[in-house]
Symmetry: C2
């Protein structure tokens, strides 16, 4: 087992990464203060892991709430199911919420913890690659609004993140691909050596090689923890982690949440960010093609939806959180392995990217 730390002064917390972690009661219970636990999970994950987690919690009042599975349920209505369960079971301020599932479960459980009685503890038990490498770390929690993704939420840190890599054995291939998009993102944005390593091992990673996946998770979490420690509330540098996400969020909300997986939209978004960076002269066409090939090997989509127009993109992107005083801010590549944040985007070049000419060409 590897232990990383997210350094945030009094809000610091550990990330445990390893196989067979969900059979070690003490690893979990050391982070539980009171005697009440509410496990928040979904209809897909509950049959696989709920009983296993409950077994770790002998002697506690353990309740659970099983949400419908999918990004389309990440909203205030579903969030309220968590509050219903907490209040019906009499959970008080000392309760601890456990987020057992992927990114949607983690984001909703975290926001419920931030909001219940104005804040209770929670622990992340991510069971998908995407949540293990990205969403479970860093304290971004929230739900979607019909007019924009993650528009309602809080920065709220967990007590701990416990990543049992065994859970990847039950992960559907499509979900593995979605998570790989975020892994590739870390390489692209700040670590050329890691990017090359992913290129080298992509076939075995996608085949589920446990050792390689553990290393990918570790390196991704190290990057995430480092950036979050510098800028917890995204006043500046943290926005770099949104590489590909402004394009991706536009795709997700245009398609209707749950049709494209978040990671799939990010994959296409990464390629669009690279395409625009190329048009602006920062990276070569060959490098864009190389990224495209990597995404294809990860079974990720490399084209935005065929029915999505330039105008669709612009309208969705202008409502994205990364818009400051009316100007679209984007994360682009100065080179492979080095991203930067800019509001200085040429509208013509952006529209060329959105039109998808190069992508479709």
């Amino acid at each position: 087992m590897i232990t990383l730390t997210v350094e945030l002064a009094e809000r610091s917390y550990p990330i445990y990464i390893g196989a067979d972690l969900l059979v070690l009661p003490e690893l979990l219970t050391r982070h539980i203060q009171g005697n009440q636990v509410m496990i928040v999970t979904n209809t897909t994950v509950a049959p696989l892991y709920l009983a296993m987690v409950e077994q770790l919690l002998d002697g506690y009042q353990v309740d659970s709430v099983i949400l419908p599975d999918g990004e389309q349920y990440k909203n205030l209505e579903t969030l309220n199911l968590i509050f219903d369960a907490l209040l019906e079971k009499g959970h008080n301020r000392t309760t601890t919420l456990l987020a057992l599932g992927g990114g949607v479960v983690g984001d909703m459980c975290g926001y419920a913890a931030a909001s219940y009685q104005r804040g209770v503890s929670f622990i992340q038990l991510p069971t998908t690659l995407l949540s293990q490498v990205d969403s479970s770390v860093g304290g971004k929690t929230g739900v979607n609004h019909r007019l924009g993704k993650n528009m309602i939420g809080a920065f709220y840190q967990p007590q701990a993140v416990l990543i049992d890599t065994n859970t990847l054995t039950t992960l559907p291939a499509r979900e593995l691909s979605a998570g790989m998009a975020e892994v590739i993102k870390y390489g692209l944005l700040e670590d050329l050596a890691f990017y090359r390593w992913i290129q080298q091992h992509i076939d075995n990673l996608m085949a589920g090689d446990a050792t390689l996946l553990a290393r990918a998770i570790r390196t991704s979490c190290e990057c995430k923890a480092r950036v979050v420690a510098q800028d917890e509330r995204e006043g500046g540098i943290r926005a770099i982690l949104n590489l590909g996400h402004t394009f991706g969020h536009a795709i997700e909300s245009h398609q209707g949440y749950g049709n494209w997986l978040h990671g799939e939209a990010v994959g296409t978004g990464l390629l669009m960010a690279a395409d625009l960076s190329c048009r602006m002269g920062a990276i070569s066409v060959a490098e864009v093609d190389e990224l495209k090939a990597l995404l294809v090997k990860a079974s990720l989509p490399v084209l935005p939806p065929a029915d999505m127009t330039e105008a669709d993109f612009l309208s969705r992107m202008s409502i994205d959180k990364k818009v400051l005083d009316g100007r679209i801010r984007l994360v682009l590549l100065r080179q492979i392995g080095q991203a930067y944040i800019t509001s200085d985007v040429d509208r013509t070049q952006l529209c060329q990217t959105l039109a998808g000419a190069a992508l479709n060409g």
Copy 2:
């Protein structure tokens, strides 16, 4: 104009108290960073003050959302109306929300600000006595759940609190009484001299004497600011401000939100807390009677609802946030002008208070 400060390090903010403050643009605009403003108000307050506030904001993008008036609308559904307005009007992370109204508007606007895009700025413009002396200061924000009051929310501080005492000239008598319950609370809990002053001036306060009301607001805000500065997130001493509230919340939720005003329930709750303190030997029957007389002069109810049983109280109180690991914690009086927090409550004496024998006798 008087300026107080809530001392919370980088989250410190001013409270301005005075007449004719809502005609001074600079007092408001100095606390607005971006160029977008969303005024959150309700159907009662909008006809009175919305145009006046809009006039202060020349040069900004000013939008408004008018909520239905009443505690029964303080829920996630109404909260979502604020998010709808923000997104439909394209408000970004630099927007500032203005809470123009009473406690319900302030609590919901504050929670919307805490949650929109994971946190934007807001300013409190309280227009009721209750919100001026209590709810606009200290950063408690949130909404109710059908199973408990303020169960969903955040600690989130405003940029400033701007109390224009002129707004009290349009306040209905019942709302003035409700606010007076919180004023009386501050005297009872830590300031005997203030309590005596209220007793002395209660008739003129209730008649709307502007000078006396301004002094009551100032002294109340000073107390609130002092306590909040010591314990922003209610880890300890801040709970003292809940004197009367555990009983009061039980009454409010039993009656259905909006039937009793919050301040009315707090008034009765104060008397119940005094009654229990008397049974426990801390204060005299004469002192309880004196408080009862003061509440009557403030036109506040002094009896819990006739149909509310001991069991109703116990079940509602056990779900109150102030319950820690199954034990009811209460704020009681050691003497008039000195409250304390305790879990050491004799169940028999509590039940005698709940049965309301002394109150009804």
